[in-house]
C-alpha cells in the first residue's frame, strides 16, 4: 500500500539522521522514544523531536533539583530530602502542576 511505503521511507530517512543527536543527552533517548510510542496515536517521532523532549526533561529536572537544593542549604542540611522537593513544588508556580500528579 502506498501509504505504508511512504511511512517506511520516512522512517529510513529519520534513522539516518538519528546518529547526530544520539550522544548529546545524558538521559537515554531510546527510552524516551519508547515512552512516546506508548501513546498509540503516534506513528513516528523524528529523532530531533525525541532529542528535544529528552533535553527538555533534563533541563526541567536540573531546575527542579537545584530549587529543592536551595532549601537544603537554607536549613543547613547536607542531604537533599523529599521535603525539599515537596516545598519547591508548593512554593514555586512553575512546579505547581506536579501537585496534581500522583507521584507515589
Amino acid at each position: 500500500m502506498a501509504g505504508n511505503e511512504e511511512v517506511l521511507d520516512e522512517e529510513k530517512q529519520l534513522n539516518e539522521n538519528a546518529n547526530a543527536s544520539i550522544r548529546l543527552t545524558k538521559l537515554p533517548q531510546t527510552r524516551v522514544r519508547n515512552i512516546i510510542k506508548l501513546d498509540h496515536d503516534v506513528t513516528l517521532a523524528s529523532s530531533e523531536a525525541v532529542y528535544l523532549i529528552t533535553k527538555t526533561t533534563e533541563l526541567f529536572v536540573e531546575y527542579f533539583t537545584k530549587e529543592a537544593h536551595k532549601r537544603t542549604v537554607e536549613y543547613k542540611r547536607k542531604t537533599l530530602q523529599r521535603k525539599d522537593l515537596d516545598d519547591a513544588i508548593k512554593t514555586t508556580d512553575h512546579f505547581a502542576f506536579l501537585e496534581d500528579i500522583p507521584l507515589d
Binding site: 496515536d41 503516534v42 532529542y51 529536572v61 530530602q81 507521584l103
Partner: protein, 158 residues
C-alpha cells in the same frame, strides 16, 4: 504490562540518579527524594509527548517534529525553555551539515573509502621514505664535519 514492558517504558533509575549527582555534586540525596525525581522525570516525558502528539494530530501529520514539541512546551507553560532548546537544535543542525559536507567531499572525490585509504597509506609511506632520506643526508653531513674537525685537530697537534 509485563515487567520488561514497564522497564523499557521508563527512564532507568540509575541514569537519573547519576544525572542528579551531576546537577548537585557533593550533595547527598535521600532515597525517597531520588524516587520522587525519577517519577517526575517519567511523568514529564509522558506529559510533553502527549501534548506534542495532540498538536501533531491536529496538524494532520504522522510524525512528531520539533515544532510540535516547541508548541507543546508553550502550551504547557514551559516557554522559558524554548530559547535554549532552539539554540541546541540549531547546534544539532550545524553538526549534521558538517557531517553532510564531509560525506559529500568523499563522494566528490570520486573514490571509494577503501581507495582513499589506500591513497593515504601510500602518501604516508612516501613521506616516511623522504624523511628517512633527509635524516640520512643530515647524518652523513655530521659525520663528514666530525671527520674534518678531527683532521684539523690532528694536523694542528703535529
Amino acid at each position: 504490562m509485563t515487567d520488561s514492558d514497564e522497564e523499557s517504558a521508563n527512564l532507568p533509575r540509575s541514569t537519573i540518579q547519576k544525572f542528579i549527582k551531576e546537577v548537585v555534586p557533593g550533595v547527598r540525596v535521600s532515597n525517597d527524594a531520588k524516587d520522587l525525581i525519577s517519577n517526575i522525570c517519567n511523568e514529564f516525558v509522558h506529559m510533553v509527548s502527549s501534548e506534542s502528539n495532540s498538536i501533531c494530530s491536529q496538524k494532520n501529520k504522522k510524525t512528531i517534529f520539533p515544532e510540535h514539541v516547541i508548541e507543546a512546551l508553550k502550551n504547557l507553560g514551559f516557554e522559558g525553555y524554548v530559547g535554549e532548546l532552539k539554540k541546541v537544535l540549531g547546534d544539532l543542525k550545524t553538526e549534521k551539515e558538517e557531517r553532510k559536507k564531509c560525506s559529500k567531499k568523499l563522494e566528490k572525490s570520486g573514490f571509494s573509502l577503501t581507495e582513499l585509504e589506500k591513497q593515504q597509506k601510500e602518501l604516508f609511506e612516501k613521506a616516511k621514505e623522504e624523511q628517512a632520506r633527509e635524516e640520512l643526508m643530515e647524518w652523513n653531513q655530521l659525520v663528514e664535519e666530525e671527520k674534518a674537525a678531527k683532521h684539523a685537530q690532528s694536523s694542528k697537534a703535529l
